[in-house]
């Protein structure tokens, strides 16, 4: 198993290359190792989401290479990239993006079904994930009946369902109140500690930044600062999360 999970070399993403080029990402070198709990910060328009999209294989860079767990995803064909994302990358979105017509359990199970995992294994995995996020009693509830915090916890469970190499979270706490945000961070911190799961967040949220062990600051598409912080990321008690 590779120690390095994400390795980007000289990555650039340019919009309007033939008229007025705008460098959303400009020559970014980034190296993330297994088990990191990293926050990507910067002002609006600094390229945080673009960089996450590139690392997540949702977008292609105009220059450079992105190596995920030893595979250069910039060289993958569309079909292979979809399969790669399914098996290796977990996504958590700002607005939860659960499928509203599926229950919480089905939303998580959906990923496992896409992977063709057996029913028994699916049931075990889903039960384990709902235990971890503290929502065992909400498994058969539809997203509309869950609070924002609960929905985002289900989204985290969904991201982890396929046992990915790492989880990309784009502003995961932006739509949450402070208690829900704290609960979510606790869960992610716990998963990071217990399962050595790698998390990379884009965020403006000071609460997330404070919990991150590494903070990368982007300005105008370039890495302006990359600092390791003191490990304050100790999960609080999960009680009262439900």
């Amino acid at each position: 198993m590779n120690k390095t999970v994400v390795d980007t070399h000289n990555v650039s993403k340019v919009y309007n290359p033939e008229t007025i080029p705008v460098y959303a990402i400009n020559n970014v070198h980034l190296h993330i190792e297994r088990g990191e709990f990293t926050a990507l910060v910067g002002p609006s328009g600094s390229g945080k989401t673009t960089l996450l999209n590139l690392i997540g294989g949702l977008d292609k860079p105009d220059k450079g290479s992105i190596i995920i767990d030893g595979t250069d995803i910039t060289r993958l064909q569309a079909g292979s990239l979809i399969s790669f994302r399914l098996k290796n990358i977990g996504f958590v979105f700002q607005s939860f993006n659960l499928i509203p017509v599926l229950t919480a359990r089905e939303n998580v199970e959906f990923i496992l079904l896409l992977q063709g995992i057996s029913k028994e294994e699916r049931n075990n995995r889903v039960a384990q994930l709902f235990r971890q996020i503290g929502l065992e009693d909400k498994m058969d509830t539809r997203p509309a009946q869950l609070s924002g915090g609960q929905q985002q916890r289900v989204a985290v469970a969904r991201a982890l369902a396929s046992k990915p190499k790492f989880v990309l979270a784009d502003e995961p706490t932006a739509n949450l109140d402070s208690i829900s945000a704290a609960n979510l961070l606790d869960i992610m911190a716990l998963l990071n500690k217990e399962e050595n799961m790698t998390f990379l967040f884009s965020t403006h949220d000071q609460r997330v930044i404070e919990r991150a062990r590494r903070v990368i600051t982007l300005v105008d598409g370039r890495i302006a600062a990359d600092t390791a912080t003191v490990d304050t990321n100790i999960p609080h008690e999960l009680e009262g999360n439900k």
Binding site: I82, S83, R85, P100, L114, S162
Partner: protein, 404 residues
Amino acid sequence: MIFLLAWRNIWRNKMRSIVIMLSIALGLFAGIAVLALYKGMMKSRVRTVIDAETGHIQLHNILFKNDFDPKYIIDDKENPLEKIRNIPEVKLAAPRTITQGMLATATGSSGVQINGVIPGLEYEASLLKRKIVEGRAFDESRKNEIMIGKKLARKMKLRPGSKLVLTFTDTTGTIVSAAFRIAAIYQSDNAPLDERNVYVTMSDLNTLLNLGGEFHEIVVLLKNDESLIAVQQELKKEFPLYQVESWKEISPETDLMVKTTDLYSYIIMIIIMFALAFGIINTMLMAILERTREIGMMAALGTTRIRIFLMVLMETIFLTLAGTPAGILVGWVVIFYYGRHGLDLSGMGREMMSSFGFGTMVYPEFPVEKLGGVMLIVTATAILSSLFPAIKTIRLQPVEALRR
């Protein structure tokens, strides 16, 4: 899961889905109704042709129909009528003496086909008695009585009791004229035939034609339509010197009409479905536009394009197929009702209907044998309608869809 997702997706906007299902049901009902109406009309037309015009089979002297020369007779010596009546499938065999002639009155004249009939048999063979709208049936104690069609009567300004003169050539080629008195005016569902055919008794006409017991035509009615081909073959073998024709050969326009009606009804059905397809496409595009972000998310998480394509395809098929049973059920109920009580089209005018050979009362019949074809058209509509929205969906780039 994609199956479940597609099913639940169609119930996201219940009102919209119900409206589209009702449209499909209505479209299907309209299609089935057209098929049933055409089937009923065609069946009634065929029935009229068989029961009131040609019978199932007709036999003639092989030369008779070339120019309807009365000398080409069916010789009674071989006793063909008895032989035909002895065939178990035969319900009735009636002879007719036929000649072409001129009907004249003081005010004008018209070319007609003069049919010499045995009244008792003809009333069964062509339901002539039932068609009488003015006057009375033949009185066999009276000589030289005639029945003429309503259209001809109107044209020649004739009514029951009026006198007219028929002129024609006899079997020796001599011109013969005789005066006849109108016993009745009849009206069938085929105005052009009414204008052309007049009926006299066979005994009167045979005397004028210099014929004994001979005749020109045998009209055969069968107990059921299905034995037509078998009996025709049997008669051809039995009477190789006679022309043995089925109603399809005697009235090829009716046979053609029956065959082409199937095609026309499918064309109408396809037009209805074509209009419906735009409704389905519109609904599905709206449904997809509303879910762009969600579909982008599904793609981002690793759902393959084919799965997303299948999801949209299934949603459309579900919507279409959910409306199908309702359409078929309503169609069946309505057609069952009108099939029993009849659909009165007299509002369109009896004259107009009869000029095309149709009666005003139509008994629609549920097109069971065409249900497969109808379902195929509906399914094809569903699949074709879903293609555009489904292709539009798989062209979505997750990164762009997620931004919306």
